[in-house]
Symmetry: C2
Subunit: 331 residues, 2 copies
Amino acid sequence: MSTDHRDYYRGRKVLVTGGLGFIGSNLCRTLADLGADVTAVDSLLPDYGGNLFNLAGYEDKLRINVADVRGHGMEYLVRGQEVLFNLAGQVSHIDSMTDPFTDLEINCRSQLSILEAVRKGNPSLKIVYAGTRQIYGKPQRLPVDESHPLQPTDVNGINKISGEMYHLVYHSVYGIRTCSLRLTNTYGPRQLIRHNRQGFIGWFVRQVTLGEEIQLFGDGSQRRDFDYVDDVVDAFLRAGAMAQADGQVFNLGGEAPVSLAVLAKRMIEIAGQGSLRVAPFPEERKRIDIGDFYADATRIKDALGWRSTTSLDVGMTKTLDFYRAHKEHYL
Amino acid sequence: MSTDHRDYYRGRKVLVTGGLGFIGSNLCRTLADLGADVTAVDSLLPDYGGNLFNLAGYEDKLRINVADVRGHGMEYLVRGQEVLFNLAGQVSHIDSMTDPFTDLEINCRSQLSILEAVRKGNPSLKIVYAGTRQIYGKPQRLPVDESHPLQPTDVNGINKISGEMYHLVYHSVYGIRTCSLRLTNTYGPRQLIRHNRQGFIGWFVRQVTLGEEIQLFGDGSQRRDFDYVDDVVDAFLRAGAMAQADGQVFNLGGEAPVSLAVLAKRMIEIAGQGSLRVAPFPEERKRIDIGDFYADATRIKDALGWRSTTSLDVGMTKTLDFYRAHKEHYL
């Protein structure tokens, strides 16, 4: 695998919004290791995933700037930067239905604020936006490629479409070098596992780490694809460094899809603790569940040479080791 | 043509947001004529299209409630209503790029406010949302049907996707009876013709009414489809009355598409005044122009029995007669 896209970051000024969050912090650590001049911006809003421990040991290797992307200050923060990894967001499907206005503020208004700040103050900045497979909704065909219709099942999915499309329009209208990576289920160290409103995988990790029972909705036969966070970080690095990404959207699809029941059982085996129970779907979750989902990642493989390379066993072993060692910072 | 959908409104409590605007006011007048109990809500924001003269002669036949859908009060206004025609919106492509935040407030936040008010206070309300063909962006194929990819070219188009999708999600998740009509170029009496930021057709009407020169961008060969406002009103009445519309989106496509040059020449002939000049595209308009566009209206024909029936000659004659008689209220 070429490492040119990693060398690209030596000495680069890089801004990461959501930099204390799950993927953001893993990205910041890698960027700092590669010699980039990193600023991590995070609001540290309760329950969103930002966690100062995520950058533990890196406090002297990068700058941490606590700020809410909804507020002022982005004009200042984007100034002089060369690459922006734009990962700040509200990611809970459930929260977007109970409080759609906050989801709108964070996932739409803040994205416009960032893009306007870039347009006015630093239009040569490269931006990589963290999109999501959630915008596709319930798949009409599998695997889902980038031309699949967008039919999100909740307000969060709708607002994430806007966030992505704003980036694309600022590319087509103003020439700003933007792209979007549509993430699927990402797992690994530094993910929020405190509550279950940000998807099932962090919650499974929590239950297994605590030796508790994983409760599966339905019969657990829903198949999904998974990316280990290091692979996702590599995709961001490629997209940030490579001009082929400009104006594009890419699925990050995992390798072979796995059912939730198989995933849960494998996690319990790896951890040597925990248990599994199948339960009926709660009504409010059933209505927004999408069944099987896995993405076609051909496009990013062809354009940027990326693919998901970490096996679920290897990635999950690292993940569960991490939480076993550091659980006091995440529970 | 069946008139059952018109009889449906006798004695019905109906709310129309954007009720002093172009389509909203024509709809309010028809509803009042059909014996509905109509409340027209409008912000009368300068430059948006709301005009008290649009309901002249109907002041005693319906209620006019001046209110900004961004503010509070929708909880009260939706109470006890049976049908909501939701036409309030910011419709200028250009304005959405110069001030994307206002577009977001009106086309996204307000829609969420309305839907939350309905969900909490009147979940049996039927809602017909005014969508737009603009969400498709530059056509990949013609005519454009409802499955065409959504690739808007400006912030307004993105936010109108959100507005529509919020309605669909409130249907699928909460069972609220919503639908969306994706309007194409609508023309007729009571359209704003004061400035050229709400599309070309009102501007053409203005120039012809004043006997001035119509300036066409490019060579005027871009083909578009057109609906006379009475036909659009009939589509709203059908969608509001018929359960087949619930949870659906429908294109309102005109009959045969016409080039802008042919349209302009025909208008000049009908008016017996005005002239035509071809000019190069201004850069900021060229970047968001979509070329040829015409919609496939098969879906609404099959489901609701609607089609565009007014010829361009008949509709434009009525339109130009109206502005000749009332131009002091629109210039």
